[in-house]
Amino acid sequence: MATATDEQVRGAELGLLERLPWRRIILVVLSIVILAVVVIGAYKTLTLPADQRYTTTTWKDFIILGLAQGAIIGLIALGYTLVYGILRMINFAHGEVFMFGAFGAYFFSHAWEESGFLDSNPVLSMALLLVVAMLVSMGVAILLERIAYRPLRNAPRLVPLITAIGASLFLANTARGFFGAQSRGFGVPAVLEGTWTILGVEVDRIQVVVLVTVIVAVTVLSLFVSKTTTGKSMRAVAADSEIASLMGIRVDRVIVITFAIGGLLAGIAAVLFSITFESVSFTMGFRPGIAAFTAAVLGGIGSISGAALGGVLLGLLQSIGPALILTGYGIPSSFQLKDAFTFLVLVLVLIFRPGGLLGSSEAEKV
C-alpha cells in the first residue's frame, strides 16, 4: 500500500508539472526580459548627460524619417498582402515590380530635368511621373501573373513561391541587362527641395509629399475594396474562391485586378522612393521588398490596414529603435543592428499573435 501511495504521489506531481503551461511561462518570461531590456535602454538613453543626449529636433527627425520611410514600405506591403489575401502566396517578385516602376519614371524625370519641364511644371510632372510608374508597374505585375503564376495556380504551395523567387531574380537581371548596373540620379523638382514649416515643425518637403500621397492612396484603396462591386468580389474570392466562383464571380479576372492594384501601388511607392533617395538602380527592389514583406507579416498578412500599420511601425522601429534602445547601453554604431532589432520585434509579435497585429489572432487552418 505504501508503495502504491508513493507512486500515486509521484503521478500526481508529474501531473501537476505537466499541467503547468510551460510554453506560456517561458514566453511570458522571455517577453518580460526583452521588455525590461527595452525600457532600461530607453531610460538610459533619455537620461544621458545633456551633452550626449539627443535633442528634441533629433528625435523629431528620427520620427519623421521613420514615418516617411515606413509609409513607402507600407505601400509596397499592400501589394504583398492583397495577393496573399486572394491567392495565399507570397509574390516575392513584388520588389522588382516596384523597381520597374521606378525605372519607367526615371527615364521621364531624367528627360524632363534636362529640358527644365520638371522645374517649370512641378505638379504636372510629378503627377505624370506617378502615372507612368503606376502603368509600368501594373504592366509588369499583370504579365508576371499571366506568365509565371497562372499556369501554377493549382500546383502545391511551394511551387509558386519558388517561381516567385525565380521571377524576382529574372526581373532584376533583365533590368540590369536593359538599363545597366550603375545607379542613376532621379530628378526632383526644385520646389521640393528644402523644408516647410507645418504647425511649427520643420519638415522636409519631400517627406510631406510622401506622407500625403500615401494617405490618399491607402484611403482610395480602402474605399475601393469596401464600396465597389469589384472590391466586394475581391473580398469574396479572398474568403473562399470556390464559393465565389459558384456565385458567378470571375475568379481569374479578380486575381488579375488584384495584381494590377498591387502594381499600381508599387508604382506610386516607386516614385516616392525615388524622389526620397534621388536614385534608381536594378537592385533597388530587393531591400524594400523584404522590408515590405516583413511589414505585411508584422501587421497581419491579408489585412489591408495591417500592411499599412506594419509599414509605418517598421519604419519607426528602424529609425528610432536603435537610437532609443541601444545608445543607452553605449553600443557603438547602433544602426547596424536595425535589422536585428526589427526581426526581434517580428518574432515577438508572431509568438503572441501568430496572425500579425491586425490579422486573425488564431492561426489560420490550411
Binding site: D61, Q69, A181, Q182, F277, S279, F286, P354, A363
Partner: protein
Amino acid sequence: MKNRKYFTVLALLGALSLVAAACGDDGGGETGATGGTSATGGAVDCAADEFGCVEIAAGDPIQLASLLSITGDTAFLGTDSNHGIELAIDYLDNSFDATPGQLLGHDVELTQEDDGCSAEGGQAGATAIAANPDVVAVIGTSCSSAALGVADTILGDKGMILISPSNTNPGLTSEEAHQPFYLRTAHNDKIQGAIVADFVFNELKVDSAATINDESPYADGLAAAFRDNFEALGGTITDTEQVSSADTDLGPVFTNIAATDPGVVYGPNFNPVCALSYTQGSDILAKGTVQIGSDGCLESSFLDTVGAPVKDFDYFASSPDVTAFQGGAFYKDEYLPAYTDQFGEPTSVFNAHAFDASNILFDAIEATAVDDGSGNLTISRTALKDALFATSGYEGVTGTITCTPLGDCATDVTIGVFEYDHWPVEGGVDPTDPVFSETKTLADVI
C-alpha cells in the same frame, strides 16, 4: 498551425536574405604596381617544386585568368581592370594596335571569371579557376572581400599566383593573413587612410570627424586607418557608424551622426552608398559639413546619381593620383588614348594597376619559363612566385613597383584628393586635377 510554420520559415528566409545582403558587397579598389626582371634559366626540376609546373606545348596559348567584379554594382571596377589586362596583352608587341601580342612566342589567353565583389563570389570564381591546372596565374580580385581568406587561399593552395589590381584592405598583406602566392599592385589602405587624415586635419583644418562604412573589409579597413591617423594627428572622432552596402535609407544614421556635430564625415564605401550618403547626408548634416569618400566612391555612377554638387556641401574623394603616375608621358600620350580608343572612357583608375600587374607577371614568366628549344614551355610555379616577389624598381604606369615579402608592390603611393565633380573619370568636369596630393611609402605609415 501549418500556416504558422510557413510564416516562421518565411520570416527566417527573410532574415537570412538580409544577412546575405549585408554580407554581400564589399571590396576595395586601389592601385599599386610591380615590375620585375629576375631571370632564371636552365632546366626546371618540376618534381622538386611542391606545386609542380605548367607545361605549355608549342602553339598552345599561355593561359591566364582574371577574377574581377564584372557584374553588379561594382561591375565598373572589374570590367575596367579587365580592359587594363587586355591592353597589356595588346602591348606585348610594344604597340597598342588592338591586336594581341605574343609572350615567348605563345598567344596569351585570358579567361574572365567574376568575383561577385563578395566572399561567396571569390570562392566560386577561384574554385573554378583552380580546377584548371593549365592556368599560369590570376589577376584579381577587384574586391578585398573576394580575396581575403577566400581566393588568396584557394589559389595559393594550388600554387597559383593571384595579383590584385584593386584590393586595398590592409589585412591582405598583414603578417597574420598574407598568403604566399598573393600580391597586389594596388596601394595598401594604410597609406590612403593616412593621406586623407592629413588632408582633413592639415589642409581643411578640421579637427572633428565621424566615419560611416559598410560591412566590407575594404570600407572597414580604410575607415579604421583614417581614424587611427586622424586621432594621431590630434583630431577627434565624434561617431563611428556602420551601414549595410544594401541600405538605401541612411537618414536615421545621418541624424545620429549630425547629433555629434562633426566637421567632416568620412565614408569610404562603394556606390550607391557613397552617392546616397552625399545626397541624404546633405539634407541632414549642418551646413558646411564636408563629406569625403574613397576610391570606391570615385566613379562615374556617383556623377550619374548625384549630378551637380549640392549647394553648401562639399564632397571630396581620394584616389590614386593619375596625374602623378610615373612615366606620365607614356600614360597620357599612349596608354590612355589606346584605352579610350578601344573601350571608351575609363570607369575607374585601376585599369592602370591591372596593366602594371599584367606586365610584371609577363616579365616574371619571361624570366622563369624554360623553352626546350622547340617552343614547349615549362614554368615552375614556385620559381614564378619567387620572380614576382623579387620585382624591384620596375617602372610601371602607376609608379615604381617593388614588391615586399608580404605582397605589397605599390610601396610608394601618391594619393590625390579630388573635389566633386572635378573627377578624373567619365562625366567629370574639367579641370580634373586633385586639390591635394601627397606621396607616402608603406614605411611612413606602418
